[in-house]
Amino acid sequence: MSVALQTVRTAFLEAWANRRGFWFQVLIMMVNDVAWVIFWVLFFRKVGALRGWDTHKVLLLFAILTTCTGFGLGLLANARRLGELISGGGLDAALALPTNPLAYLLTRRVDTALLGDLAFGPVLFVAAGDPTPERAAVFIFGALCGSIVLVGFLVALGSVTLFAGGRGEQADLGFQAILIFASYPVDIFGGLTKLFLFTAVPAAFVTGLPTRLVSSFSWPEAAAAAGAAAFFATLAVATFNLGLRRYTSGALWTRA
């Protein structure tokens, strides 16, 4: 565990090495997030409440979304590039070390710009999310579950490269899909789409469910969030390890 933390720390140091660029990118990301906040404020100004959603609730969703992307794409920045890394031979470098290859690859890089999201999310929650200690605790819990689902989903998709080759395009597509659907209130969607968002592209578990937990907590739903996180974490690790076995036996495509 401490190796992973140390790797994250080193990755952070590397991003921090260019001090001016670091703060600039964080700033721009926050500006980017503010633009989205403006979008939602303007939207609800004209539309009013929508299926139980209003400005307040959607900003809560956005706070959770940015915290999840900050963690899953900022801190563990290689999660979404796993397929690309594998096809480029980056896995071999990780395999040369006496450490868990998946943990190493995930912690190997930090994306400065998206760290801006990680800072913005909690700030937005405090500013617009009616923060009480209970709600804050649920917020952290919900965002953590959502982050794990996001990372797990991306890793599982990226690991497909270990079986099927390619350069990770399926992961790119999955990433776009989950991000788009997680950015909007899940209740605007009809039954079939909603089902889709709780299964194939688990955007509802990234933001939808956590948002509901913070607004109106219930133990069954909290369990569901934790269950989803556990499921996608397991799926990711299992897919990767199975794929790794395939990769090292190297029968599928020429790796000479």
Binding site: I28, V31, A35, V47, A113, E169, L173, A177, Y184, F189
Partner: protein, 258 residues
């Protein structure tokens, strides 16, 4: 001039040879349309069928055109342009007997037109399936050239903005900034009529509205040929800016060395 036309055709053909990349872009666009179809139908239903003078049908056609016109451009273009200028890679292009920025724009236009055609085709089908045909055939007919003009304005603006990327020395962040400007002030996802009056007036006066709002407003059923004239005007201004930025970059290379 003929070199530019040839360049357009060449890069258009090249874009067709990368179906994977095209498919990913178009799918991304389809996701957005699906999401916005759900969003706008829920929103209009909750407001008696129309908001800010748009009903669900005009709203969805609005998004189809706005998003389509923007998605046709390459997301990292500002990054690559900025890099090419600051690294001096445009030196080889300076050796050709043609305008550097002119040929570049022509090259980008070729690819972008292919993407626009695919996007509008797919988007048109999706929108039609959800809400039926566009509210006004005449307006829709105008929307197509407007989309092409929007694309041209966007490309020219990105080439002009690349100068800012070089100055700020961070192309990715510059592109984020640019994207948000088009997003909010260009009326890409929210019709400008949603903005409070003073902000809406400012937005209408800026070039970003030519890149998304113009074709979208037409597609949503509002016959307003003046929009096309506005776009043409902005195109001239933006091309001049782009040429200026590139000339400054070339001059710097000539003085400092590639």
């Amino acid at each position: 001039m003929t070199a530019a036309v040839a360049q357009v055709g060449f890069s258009a053909r090249r874009a067709l040879h990368q179906p994977g990349e095209l498919a990913v872009r178009v799918l991304f666009y389809a996701f957005i349309l699906v999401v916005f179809a759900a969003l706008w139908s829920a929103a209009t239903r909750a407001n008696g069928g129309s908001i800010a003078g748009y009903d669900v049908r005009s709203l969805l056609w609005y998004v189809t055109a706005a998003e389509g016109a923007v998605i046709a451009t390459k997301p990292r273009m500002i990054e690559t342009i900025g890099w090419d200028i600051s690294s001096g890679a445009i030196v080889t292009e300076m050796l050709r007997p043609a305008s550097v920025v002119g040929l570049r724009l022509a090259a980008e236009l070729g690819e972008a037109l292919v993407r626009l055609a695919c996007a509008l085709a797919v988007g048109g089908v999706v929108a039609w399936l959800y809400v039926g045909p566009p509210p006004s055939a005449a307006a829709a007919a105008l929307a197509v050239p407007a989309a092409v003009l929007a694309l041209c304005c966007n490309l020219a603006a990105q080439h002009a903005f690349a100068g800012a990327a070089f100055w700020l020395r961070d192309a990715r962040s510059t592109w984020f900034l640019y994207q948000k400007l088009v997003f909010l002030l260009g009326g890409m996802l929210l019709p400008l009529e949603f903005l409070p009056r003073p902000l809406a007036d400012v937005a209408r006066a800026l070039p970003f509205s030519a890149m998304a709002y113009a074709p979208a407003r037409l597609a949503s059923g509002h016959v307003d040929p003046a929009l096309l004239a506005e776009q043409a005007g902005w195109l001239v201004v933006l091309l001049a800016c782009a040429a200026g930025v590139f000339r400054a970059g070339e001059r710097r290379i000539e003085v400092v060395g590639g």
